[in-house]
Subunit: 345 residues, 2 copies
DNA sequence: GAAATAATTTGAAAGCTTTCAAAATCCGCT
DNA sequence: AGCGGATTTTGAAAGCTTTCAAATTATTTC
C-alpha cells in the first residue's frame, strides 16, 4: 500500500467519487507498479453481481451454435462481460444442474438455448429476483414470456417451400425436427401453410419427425424415399437433417437433385461446399447471439421495458440440391433469392 | 437458520468434519427446505480457488475447436468444474486481456490453444504461483515447457504425403498454415521428410504459407495451380485450406481429383460430405480437449510430476479427393488406412 | 480571519464461506 | 458420581471489495 486508505483506492479504480490529482496519481502509480488487479470474486460478492454471463447451449459441436456463441461473446466481451459456457446435451437434468449452479456465481444474466422440455420459466424467476436477466434464443420453452431472439422460422420455411412449389414440385415431404422444440414446430407450420396456399395436400406419412442431426435425417429420409409414389422434394428441418437425406438418397442409388430435391434450414458455413451444394434457409446465427447479448446488457443497465421478442429475418439460399422435378415439365423457374420479412413486436 | 452454528453447516456440506446424525439431519433438512446453495463467490474467495477452468481458444466458429472445447467441457463437468470460454481471435492483445482477467477469478486452471506469438510462458508463472495449472493444446508457444496435448502432426503429415507419393504423384505442393504456429510447422516438417525419403525435390515455390482458413487456401491454391508445370497433388495444412484449394481448382476449370489431388488435415465432421469427399489426416479434437482437462484435473488434485507432453495419434482418411495422377501411370495404389504411432514422453 | 459550506478522505461494516482454536459434550472407567 | 480423554460443536477471524456515514480538509463568504 502506497500512502492512502483502502476506500480511496476503490474510488480511484471505480471512479465512484472524485479524488484529487496528487492522490489519484499516487494510487495509479502504485497499482501500476505492483500490477494490482481487484479480485473479481470479492467484487462480485460485495456488489451482488459479477460480469459473467451464463450461456447455456445444447452442444458446441453442432455447427449452428458456435456462431450464436460467437455473436454473444463478441458483444459481451466488448462491454466487459465474460461468458461461462455450458453444454446441456439436450438433457434436461444437465440443464437444471447448470442453471442451479450458475446462479451461485451471481452472473449478470443468462443466454439460453433451451433444451427439450425446458421449464426455464420457473428457474428464471429466481434469477430475476437476484437481478439477473434471462434471454432465450433460437427456440423458446412453452409459455415463455421473457425476452427472446429467434429467427423467422415460419416465414423462412414458407418461402423455402413455396420455392419448391414454384419449381414444379407437387409431392413434397418434410422432415421436421423434434416438434416440442418451437423452432421445429414453426418451420413445419410454415411448410404446411405454403402447401395449403398452393392447394397441395400433404399425406400424413410425408410428414416425418427426426432429431436435428444427420442420422435422424438419414433414417427418415430412407423411409420417405422408399414410399411409392416417392416425394420429388424433401424439406428438411435443418441442414444436418438435409445432409442425412442426401446421404440416404445416395444410398438408394438415387440422385440429388435429379430424382429428389432437398432443401435445408440454417445455411451452415459448409452447406455451400457439400455435394451437391445444399439449398437452405439462412438464419443469422451470429446475429441471434449478438442481439441476445445486446438485450441482456440493456436489461443489466436498467432497461425495464416490456419483454422484447426480436425475430430476425431469414434468407433463402438457392443451390444445386434443388431443381425442377423430372417427371413433370417445370412450369416456372425461380432462381432469385427470396427474403422473408423481419418482424419485431 | 434451523438450530445450529454456521461452522457446523459448513462441515455438513463439505464433509470436512464428522457431525452426529441428529444434527446432520436437521441441517440437511433445512438446506432442502429453503433450497440453500452456498455462494460460489464467497467460497472461492475463502478457498483461494474456484471450480472454474478458463478455456482460451482462437475462435469457436472454426469447426475444429468446438470439438476440443466439448472434450474439455465433458470431463471438466463430470468432475464438477465449469468452463469459462474465451475467444482470442488469434489476437495476441485479446489473449492477454483474457489471461489477465481470468486470473482474478482464481480459476483452478487454464486450457489454452495459444494464439500467434503467444508468450504464454510468462503469464503462466503468475498463474502457477496462485496454484492454477496451465495446459497447452494443439499448438505450443515458443519454448513451452509446461504440460501439453497435441496431435502427432509430423507423423500424420508424413503418412499423408507418403500416401500421395505411393499413388504416383511426383510434383506435390504444400500449403502450410502460419509457420509460427508449431502445428503448422510440424506438419510441414512431416511433409518434407516424406518427400525427402521418396527422393523427391520440392521446389521452393511449391511451399506456400497461408492462414488456416478457406480464403487462405483459395488464394494460395490459385497461385500454385497457375504454375507450370502444375502440381498434381496439394497437401493442405488443414481442411479449411484444403476446401479453399478445391474451390480454386474448380474456379480454374480443373477437376479434383482428376487434375489435382487434395489432402487435408483435421478431418472435420463435414469433410466427408464435401464435393469431392476430402481425404484428410484425422486428429482427435475431442480427445485433445478431454486429455487436457484430465491432466489439468490431475494437477489440481496434487500431481506435481514433471511436465507431461501427450501426443495423440492421427489417422489417415482416404477419400475421393485423392487419386493417382493422370499424366503418369499409377505405380502402386494404397487404399488402406495408415495410422501414425502415439507417443508419450 | 472566522465561520459556514463544500469537497475529499477515511474507517468500518457487510457480503458469505471456510477453518482453527477453544468450548462443550459425550463416553468409559474407577 | 466424578474424572480424563475423545469427540462434536461453536465462535470468531480472514479473505477482498464496496459503500455509507463520519471525519477531515479545502474553499468561500462576510
Amino acid at each position: 500500500m502506497a500512502g492512502v486508505s483502502l476506500g480511496t483506492v476503490s474510488h480511484v479504480l471505480n471512479g465512484s467519487a472524485r479524488v484529487r490529482e496528487p492522490l489519484r496519481r499516487r494510487v495509479e502509480e502504485a497499482v501500476q507498479s505492483i500490477g494490482y488487479q481487484p479480485s473479481a470474486l470479492a467484487r462480485g460478492l460485495r456488489r451482488d453481481k459479477t460480469n459473467m454471463i451464463g450461456m447455456v447451449i445444447p452442444d458446441v459441436t453442432n455447427p449452428f451454435f458456435p456462431a450464436v456463441v460467437r455473436g454473444a461473446e463478441d458483444t459481451a466481451f466488448a462491454n466487459g462481460y465474460r461468458l461461462i459456457l455450458c453444454n446441456t446435451d439436450n438433457d434436461h437434468s444437465k440443464e437444471l444442474v447448470h442453471l442451479n449452479e450458475l446462479r451461485t456465481y451471481l452472473p449478470s444474466g443468462l443466454i439460453v438455448i433451451p433444451s427439450d422440455f425446458s421449464d426455464l420459466t420457473r428457474q428464471t424467476e429466481s434469477y430475476q429476483q437476484s437481478g439477473a436477466a434471462v434471454v432465450c434464443v433460437d427456440r423458446l420453452p412453452k409459455r415463455w414470456h421473457g425476452d427472446s431472439v429467434t429467427a423467422a422460422n415460419e416465414a423462412g420455411a414458407h418461402a423455402a417451400t413455396r420455392h419448391l412449389v414454384q419449381l414444379g414440385h407437387r409431392r413434397i415431404a418434410a422432415i421436421s425436427g423434434p416438434l416440442h422444440l418451437t423452432n421445429a414446430e414453426q418451420r413445419l407450420r410454415g411448410f404446411r401453410r405454403a402447401m395449403t396456399e398452393a392447394g397441395l395436400a400433404v399425406a400424413p406419412e410425408f410428414l416425418q419427425e427426426a432429431s436435428f442431426d444427420l442420422p435422424g435425417g438419414r433414417s427418415r429420409g430412407l423411409l420417405l424415399l422408399r414410399m411409392l409414389p416417392r416425394p420429388t422434394a424433401i424439406f428438411a428441418g435443418n441442414d444436418m437433417i438435409a445432409m442425412g437425406v442426401i446421404q440416404a438418397i445416395r444410398e438408394l442409388g438415387l440422385r440429388c437433385p435429379e430424382d429428389v430435391s432437398v432443401m435445408g434450414f440454417d445455411d451452415l458455413a459448409f452447406s455451400a461446399l457439400t455435394n451437391p451444394p445444399l439449398a437452405s434457409v439462412m438464419q443469422p446465427g451470429y446475429q441471434l447471439g449478438a442481439t441476445a447479448a445486446r438485450i441482456l446488457l440493456d436489461r443489466v443497465h436498467g432497461d425495464t421495458g416490456p419483454a422484447r421478442h426480436v425475430v430476425l429475418q431469414t434468407e433463402l439460399k438457392i443451390r444445386e440440391s434443388v431443381a425442377p422435378p423430372h417427371e413433370i415439365d417445370s412450369p416456372h423457374r425461380a432462381r432469385k433469392t427470396v427474403s422473408s420479412k423481419a418482424k419485431k413486436k
